[in-house]
Subunit: 358 residues, 2 copies
């Protein structure tokens, strides 16, 4: 078991990483204030881990809300549905919501926890690699709407995060790779040693070697926390976490979130951003190629689909919430392990650069 | 001009109280970060003060969103409507939302500001007495749903609050009295000197004497802040602000928010809570009678409508978010100027006490 203490300005909470977190009630006890516990999960995850967790938390007699699978639950309608269910079953301010599932469950339940009766306790139990290394850490939550992803949400920290690295064994190939894309991202923007470590351990990672995966999750979370702690409310520094995401979000949206998983789109986005970094003379072509190799070995896509024109890409990027009034801030790499913001870029400038790439 | 500095754990911001706040651009300048300003108001208030404020903020070229009047805008649908409007008009994270209006506008826009792109700047310009002395101060916001009031919301502070006490001249008689109910409440729970002051100045208050009203607003906000600062996130102490509200909310809901204004229902609720305080031997009958006189002089109702049975009242109170699993915490008075919580009361106990009163 590894434990990371997340210490923010106002709050602190632990992240437990180990294969007993779903079965050992004693780890949970300090974080459950009362008997008013609601587990919110999706169908898929409920089939895999709900019974185990219910058994562990047996003495608390937790209620359960099971939602549909996937990103489509991240809407205001589902937010409203959960809140009405909680009210109909007379849950009050002492309720603890447990988000058991991937990033979509974590984002939706986190948003509900922050707004239900102006805030109730939240525990995150991320079961996908993507959620374990990224979305469950840092307090961001949100839902999507017609204009894009996570446009409605808050910053709200859980009381604890419980991560069982073994849960990724039940992920399909693509979901696993999608999570790895974020792992690679964190190494690229902050920690070249970790990037080297990923390259060296690529075989064991793909084999999902238990201790290597645990170490990988641990190191990724440490990086994310280091960045988030420098900028809890995302004013500046934290923006580097969006490396590859401006393009990635646009690619996801072009296909209405149907063709690519988040991490797959981010992988393509990271390639574009790395090529921009090369073009701006920050990164060498050898470093760009190293990244292409790593992503391919991790079974991630690296090419922008032909269907997406540069104009369309830029148009979609304009409605990303990170872009104020049409200009862009693009995260690029100075080196492997060091990111910086390319600020206030006009659509024309961006277009010119992208045309040179493709 | 009076200025109160609200200093919270993480943030601090000023409350300006004076008759130049809507016309003096220099007071606003430090609190507007950029040119991306959206004023959100209701029809009624827009007819009265929008042109003035637009003229004052002319150089910022603010956009305007005008909503319907009254409490019915406090829904997730309106929340969603505002967010979609902001996205459709390409507003980003640097947007400042100005809530110009009564408590409903303040609560709805505050909630939007806290969730739009995970939080944008907010300025409160409360134009009703109720909003000036209560809802604009302390960071609480929210919307209603079928289960009750403010069940969905967050804690989120504005960058500044601008109060022009003269705006209450355009309130109708009942809205003015409704605000006075909250003023009386704050004196009852925290400051017996202020309660005496209210009794002494009742004539000038009813005449809306400018300096007296300004002083009254100032003193009420000071009390509210003192309470809120002891308990920013409403764990305990802040609960005394709900004096009269458990009953008041139930009364409002019985009539589907149509018969009584919030403060009117709270006035009746305060009478019930004061009678309970007498029954529990905390308050003298003379003190209860003093309160009845004061409320009547302020044109507030004091009697529970006959239509509402005690059973119905308790049933409605059970769905109030302050009540966990059916038991009640009722704010009562130890003395005039000092409140305390009567904790964890069963419905049976409460019923027994209420039957003795009525």
């Amino acid at each position: 078991m590894k434990i990371i203490n997340c210490k923010f300005s106002k709050e602190q909470y632990p992240v437990f990483i180990g294969n007993t977190v779903l079965t050992d009630e004693s780890i949970w006890k300090p974080y459950l204030k009362g008997n008013d516990i609601v587990i919110i999960t999706c169908k898929q995850v409920s089939n895999l881990y709900l019974t185990t967790l219910q058994k562990t938390l047996f003495t608390y007699n937790p209620e359960v809300i099971v939602l549909d699978n996937g990103e489509q639950i991240k809407t205001l309608e589902h937010f409203n549905h959960i809140i009405n269910t909680l009210l109909a079953t007379k849950h009050g301010r002492k309720t603890t919501l447990i988000a058991l599932g991937g990033g979509s469950i974590g984002d939706l339940v986190g948003f509900v926890a922050s707004c239900f009766l102006r805030g109730v306790d939240l525990i995150q139990v991320p079961t996908t690699l993507l959620a374990q290394v990224d979305s469950s850490i840092g307090g961001k939550n949100g839902v999507n709407n017609a204009y894009g992803k996570n446009l409605i949400g808050t910053f709200y920290h859980p009381k604890a995060v419980f991560i069982n690295p073994n849960t990724i064994a039940t992920l399909n190939h693509r979901d696993f790779a999608s999570g790895l894309a974020e792992v690679v991202k964190y190494s690229l923007i902050y920690d070249n040693d970790f990037y080297d470590w990923l390259e060296e351990n690529i075989k064991l990672i793909n084999q999902q070697h238990q201790l290597i995966i645990q170490e990988m999750i641990y190191r990724t979370i440490k990086i994310k926390l280091a960045i988030v702690l420098e900028d809890e409310y995302e004013n500046n520094k934290r923006a580097i976490c969006n490396f590859g995401h401006s393009f990635g979000h646009a690619i996801e949206r072009f296909f209405d979130y149907k063709k690519y998983l988040h991490g797959e789109a981010v992988a393509i986005g990271m390639v574009i951003a790395s090529r921009l970094s090369y073009q701006l003379e920050h990164l060498t072509i050898a470093e760009v190629n190293r990244l292409l190799t790593l992503l391919q070995q991790l079974n991630l896509p690296i090419n922008l689909p032909e269907k997406i024109t540069i104009n369309k890409l830029i148009e979609l990027m304009k409605t990303d919430k990170k872009n104020q009034h049409g200009n862009f801030n693009i995260v690029i790499l100075s080196n492997i392990g060091m990111a910086r913001l390319w600020r206030n870029i006009t659509a024309t400038t961006l277009k010119k650069h992208l045309e040179q790439i493709f």
